[in-house]
């Protein structure tokens, strides 16, 4: 049905799709937090890295079954996200008057505080675990490299795990946002923080919940990619962080479906680019998309008029 080239090409699309799903999981947390606080969380990539290390520790010391592993990483991400919020974001939220809410200096301070936390966490991880790549225990890594043939197409078992985990998380997130009280609160704060205060939403608790949800998803993305690629390292959060940021901007800054679609599109485009260019150049795709989006679609591809979050 396909000649060799086509099979290889389709294979690349599948690989790109898997990576794109991971970007999407990271981008969702980014977008949620941006939607609610209106600031970029620079430490989101480190949450992803923490997820990978928490997963690695669990594998080495507990060797849990797959589902338990993902739940442990989810919990680690939630704890890390809540601590991050308390350390880097909460201190700047006690200023309630409009002048500081609208002030640029206030937003920049919050940006810098999350950047500071990200540097501290990354450096601390290097101190504790070393800066090198650490391999995932072979038994686990191998289990995710099992080829599964679909016709002539070979899909790694890990790609199916990523797909399954991503779908479960997307659906859970939609359920939380649209069917629960806390989801309603998150959407209310994202839509109108002042209005949310008037209807009695506990804004502080809502922000914490947002960090918990976004960080839990980011951490799971970290262990998924670690398992899939077989290694983890302290700076691993940077590249997916940049790509998730690009997906968020392309998606219109405040649209979760937009960010997910753009993240997958980005992952696939990178995979296709490696067909034609050397690997190093493929990383430029994200920056190219960012620049093109900012020039031609300043409100994003899915941005204008949509509900925030």
């Amino acid at each position: 049905m396909f000649d060799r080239f086509d099979i290889f090409f389709v294979q690349q699309l599948v690989n790109g799709f898997s990576v794109g799903l991971v970007y999407a999981l990271v981008a969702i947390g980014f977008t949620l937090i941006f939607g609610v606080l209106n600031v970029v969380n620079f430490a989101h990539g480190e949450i992803y890295m923490i997820g990978a290390y928490a997963g690695l520790m669990a594998l080495i010391f507990l060797a849990p079954p797959w589902v338990a592993l993902l739940l442990i990483v989810l919990a680690a991400g939630i704890v890390a996200g809540v601590l991050l919020e308390r350390a880097a974001f909460k201190p700047f939220r006690r200023f309630r008057d409009e002048a500081s809410l609208k002030s640029k200096a206030m937003r920049e301070s919050t940006l810098l505080s999350s950047l500071a936390v990200s540097i501290i966490v990354r450096e601390a991880t290097e101190k504790i675990f070393g800066a090198d790549m650490r391999p995932i225990p072979r038994a686990y890594a191998n289990a995710l490299q099992e080829p599964i043939l679909i016709g002539e197409l070979a899909v790694a078992s890990g790609q199916l795990v990523i797909l399954g985990a991503a779908i479960v998380m997307f659906l859970t997130l939609q359920f939380i946002l649209f069917r629960t009280q806390i989801g309603l609160s998150i959407r209310a704060v994202a839509a109108n923080p002042l209005g949310a205060q008037y209807v009695g939403v506990n804004v502080d608790r809502t922000v914490i919940a947002t960090f918990a949800i976004g960080s839990g998803m980011g951490a799971v993305a970290g262990i998924l990619i670690g398992l899939y690629q077989g290694t983890i390292f302290p700076a691993m959060g940077f590249a997916p962080g940049v790509k998730a940021f690009v997906a968020m901007v392309m998606g219109g800054l405040n649209s979760i479906p937009g960010a997910v679609i753009c993240a997958i599109f980005l992952g696939v485009s990178e995979a296709v680019a490696t067909e034609f260019f050397a690997q190093g150049w493929a990383d430029l795709v994200a920056y190219l998309f960012l620049v093109l989006t900012l020039i031609f679609f300043p409100t994003g591809l899915f941005g204008a008029g949509r509900e925030r979050v």
Binding site: R96, D97, E98, A99, L184, R187, A188, A191, N192, L194, G195, A196, Q197, Y198, V199, G200, V201, N202, V203, D204, R306, E307, R308
Partner: protein, 237 residues
Amino acid sequence: MSAVLEVRDLAVRMGAQTILHGISLDVPAGGIVTVLGSNGVGKTTLMRALSGVYRATSGTIRLLGEDITALPSHAIVRRGLAQAPEGRQIFGAMTVAENLRLGAIGEADQALLERILTLFPILRERYRQRAGSLSGGEQQMLCVGRAMMARPKLLLMDEPSLGLAPKLVKQIFDLVATIRADGTPVLLVEQNARAALRVADHAYVMDGGRIVLEGPARELAEDERVKAAYLGGHAHA
């Protein structure tokens, strides 16, 4: 009559600027009290401080005898003080249904929802539409309906008639009377002094962050200073 709301010497400072200099006012049970004043005298700042959106620098706010001065906004709503704020502050990207749901505390009360949808038929008609697609008057109805969903023991309304067509303005003031008849006292901030004095029992006049005049609404409506400054000196007052 015991007071639902007692404000004593409330001051609010924003940065270097003091906006409220010691406001004292009462809302009695079952009453409609109005606060009048021109643009920029601090009416909205007062309303925000009462809802816990701004912090009081000094002074006390008591709701049904309880000191709520230091409580966060969500705790104040939970204790029964709801507000239809200036600028409406609805959730434009969400549906009318979701806006009303957000107004409720805990489980939405179906009988109350039914009462509100009967009071505002337009909200029933537009129940599943984005709130942002409603007209200004409809958004004001939604804003008031949303506040009523909290089953408030005191309802604050900040310039509900602002920017509405005359027919809608009349509807809003009729609504204030209806809400009181349902048993909920109302603290109403207005620039439309004539209509506000007609519906209210008691009135306060603010200027420069202070209360400069107070009295029964009927008396203030006849007060020469009020007539000159706020009733525009129209012959048909």
